[in-house]
Amino acid sequence: MVDVPLTHGIALAVVLFLVGLVGLLTRKNILFMLMSVEIMLNAAGLTFIIGSTRWGQADGQVMFIFILSMAAAEVAVGLALILQFYKKFNTLDVDAASKLKG
């Protein structure tokens, strides 16, 4: 097995996270925002995997499985919400839902 240096793995996670974050901040379409959140989750999962490989412990793998299952649940709820959103506003633009402003 080829040893990937720790820093490379971390850098990849950071890049993934930033990609997700920037997508979240710039996208208006709520569907893409959900996808960006998924990318960020994966970045976090990747960090756990890297950590567990680095110290040779299984905890990180366990955490990743947790994150994976939680992401699945989240996507289910999120997609349902997006459907409702579309029904109500007839658009996927997130700025349309701004009734909770002060």
Binding site: L21, L24, L25, M33, V94, A97, K99, K101, G102
Partner: protein, 632 residues
């Protein structure tokens, strides 16, 4: 002792009647109301006469009776009981209050017959009399203060009795506020006396004062001046006198009650009651004399120019109370009380007579529109004449001569008095006789004015006749050395109040002074006769001179005191309060809430409902937190 038990009944009767009339007055018929209204004070008057008789025939120990009713409060060293104390001084006062009060009530039953609020009127009158009885019978200063305030309240209610006219309400408020200034001084004086002596019992304070204070002690002076402040307010002396002429807005019987039996004499009573404190503060006592002498002149000149018959009488009351203050100030205690009693008789009579005239002439107050009434209203004329003779102090035949002469002589002879004060009083006597004679001549003689349409009934004339009897005969219980030397009254009063210290004056000068004052009042009456009956033209030509006109309007307006107070006090206060309409102090809490509102708006702006904006802020916050936690 049984006699002491009568005391509370005397006080309770008017209050009981007040309650009955206040609660059931609307349901009672007019006649029944009248009978109930008169009965209470009548009973008190009878009991007072009974007490007076027993005082004269079989005097109790120390010439005083006391009866403790119940303990009022007992807290933090202040033990106050509701207890009454009767001595010779308060006996004179309750006699005047109940007896004259009774006559005034009898008179009012007819006088007020066709007025709205008949029961209300008598309820107030009874409360008034009851409060005054509390005032003079109280054995401690707190209870006295209760009566004092009760009197103030009733004067407000009664002066503003015809409340539908705003002018009357204004006069009532003025009386209340002006006397309240004095009341404040009095209550501060009470606090001072309590901190000094730890008690408010009058007898205890008076016996402890000479041991605690040397003569001229600054604390004693302060206490005396504070008490004087209260007395000045209630008794309408300078500089708090302006409410009295306006108090004429009330019905005439109210004026009679205020001026003769209650209210304005409260100040005289207070000073006489606390005489020991004034004796320990010679400066304060001197101030009493000077205030009295000044007031009697100021009010006298004002009375000379009034055209409203009741206002003449109002100013004359101020002037006569000034004489009492003068007597108190020079230490002539019994002379002051004697003049109070005589004054009560003739002043009540004058007001009731004036009220009767005003009634039969359809509420005409201007005496220059009257004239020629002596044939048409004989009973009123003769009784009014007797009272006026007393007020003018016509020598030998009037009661007022004996009381006023006593004051003038004792002012002259007293160590605290002197020639200057005597001279002021003497000038006042001349003016008094002049304005009194002017009032009588203008009202009853001269060309006929308005025709009276009705005759006063028996219930009106009877009190007048009784009061006339007392105004005439009352003087003979106290005659000077030169004329018979009778000292029934002062002998009676001296059981409570000390004797006057006579200075180094020759006995013969008393006779000379009497002749001078007697002749003076005769000359004044003669002058008034010439000016207002014989030679009206002279008066008219005098009036044309510009100086006289100005002086006339100046005096008629009461020496411009009202205007001065308006300019010095009322206007600046109103101006300041207008500036301060939004209340400076409120700025602090209001500013606080404004700042809150501002920050709220700022934060509300951040909550714009944009999900991505929230996201960005969360990111920014996370970065900041991380940066800080790494850096620190």
């Amino acid at each position: 002792m049984i006699l002491a038990d009568l005391l509370w009944i005397i006080v309770a009767m008017p209050f009981a009647i007040f309650l009955v009339l206040a609660f059931f007055g609307n349901k009672l018929s007019t006649n029944l109301t009248a009978i109930i209204a008169v009965s209470g004070t009548g009973t008190s008057a009878l009991l007072t006469i009974l007490l007076g008789w027993s005082f004269l025939s079989a005097p109790p120990e120390d010439y005083s009776l006391s009866s403790q009713l119940w303990e009022w409060m007992n807290t933090g060293g202040l033990v106050t009981s509701v207890s009454l104390r009767l001595d010779t001084l308060s006996l004179v006062f309750i006699f005047v209050i109940t007896f004259i009060g009774f006559l005034i009530l009898v008179y009012s039953t007819e006088f007020m017959k066709n007025e709205d609020g008949y029961a209300r009127f008598f309820a107030y009158m009874n409360l008034f009399i009851g409060s005054m009885l509390i005032l003079v019978l109280a054995d401690n200063l707190l209870l006295l203060y209760l009566g004092w305030e009760g009197v103030g309240l009733c004067s407000y209610l009664l002066i503003g009795f015809w409340y539908k006219d705003p002018v009357n309400g204004y006069a009532a408020r003025k009386a209340f506020i002006m006397t309240r200034i004095g009341d404040t001084a009095l209550i501060i004086g009470l606090f001072l006396l309590f901190t000094e002596f730890g008690t408010l019992n009058i007898a205890d304070i008076l016996s402890a004062a000479p041991e605690k204070w040397a003569s001229g002690d600054p604390t004693a002076r302060l206490a005396a001046f504070l008490l004087l402040g209260g007395a000045v307010g209630k008794s309408a002396q300078l500089p708090l006198q302006t409410w009295l002429p306006d108090a004429m807005a009330g019905p005439s019987p109210v004026s009679a009650l205020i001026h003769a039996a209650t209210m304005v004499t409260a100040g005289v009573y207070l000073i006489a009651r606390t005489h020991t404190i004034f004796e320990l503060a010679p400066i304060a006592q001197c101030a009493v004399a000077i205030i009295g002498a000044t007031t009697l002149l100021v009010a006298g000149f004002s009375a000379l120019t009034q055209s409203d018959i009741k206002r003449v009488l109002a100013y004359s009351t101020m002037s006569q109370i000034g004489y009492m203050f003068l007597a108190l100030g020079v230490g002539a205690w019994s002379a002051a009380v004697f003049h109070f009693m005589i004054h009560a008789f003739f002043k009540a009579l004058l007001f009731l007579g004036a009220g009767a005239i005003i009634m039969v002439l359809h509420h005409e107050h201007n005496m220059f529109k009257m004239g020629g009434l002596y044939k048409k209203l004989p009973v009123i004329f003769w009784t009014f004449l007797i009272a006026s003779a007393s007020l003018a102090a016509l020598p030998l035949i009037s009661a007022g001569f004996y009381s006023k002469d006593l004051i003038l002589w004792e002012t002259f002879a007293s160590t605290a008095g002197g020639t200057q004060l005597w001279f002021l009083g003497y000038v006042g006597a001349f003016i008094t006789a002049l304005y009194t004679a002017r009032m009588v001549f203008v009202t009853f003689f001269g060309p006929t004015g308005i025709e009276p349409t009705q005759r006063p009934g028996l219930l009106i004339t009877l009190p007048l006749v009784v009061l006339a009897l007392f105004s005439f005969a009352g003087g003979f219980i106290e005659l000077p050395h030169t004329l018979g030397h009778v000292q029934v009254f002062s002998g009676f009063i001296h059981h409570t109040l000390p004797h006057l210290e006579i200075g180094d004056v020759a006995e013969s000068s008393e006779l000379i002074l009497q002749i001078i004052t007697g002749l003076t009042s005769l000359i004044a009456v003669g002058a008034a006769y010439v000016l207002y009956v014989r030679r009206r033209i002279w008066t008219d030509s005098i009036k044309k001179s510009k100086l006289v006109t100005q002086l006339h309007s100046f005096w008629k307006a009461g020496w411009g005191f009202d205007t001065a107070y308006e300019n010095i006090l009322v206007r600046p206060v109103v101006y300041l309060s207008r500036i301060n309409k939004n209340d400076v102090v409120d700025l602090i809490p209001l500013g606080l809430s404004k700042a809150m509102l501002y920050f709220n708006n700022v934060l509300v702006y951040s909550q714009n409902g944009k999900l991505r904006w929230y996201m960005a802020v969360i990111t920014l916050g996370a970065i900041l937190t991380l940066t800080i936690s790494i850096l620190l």
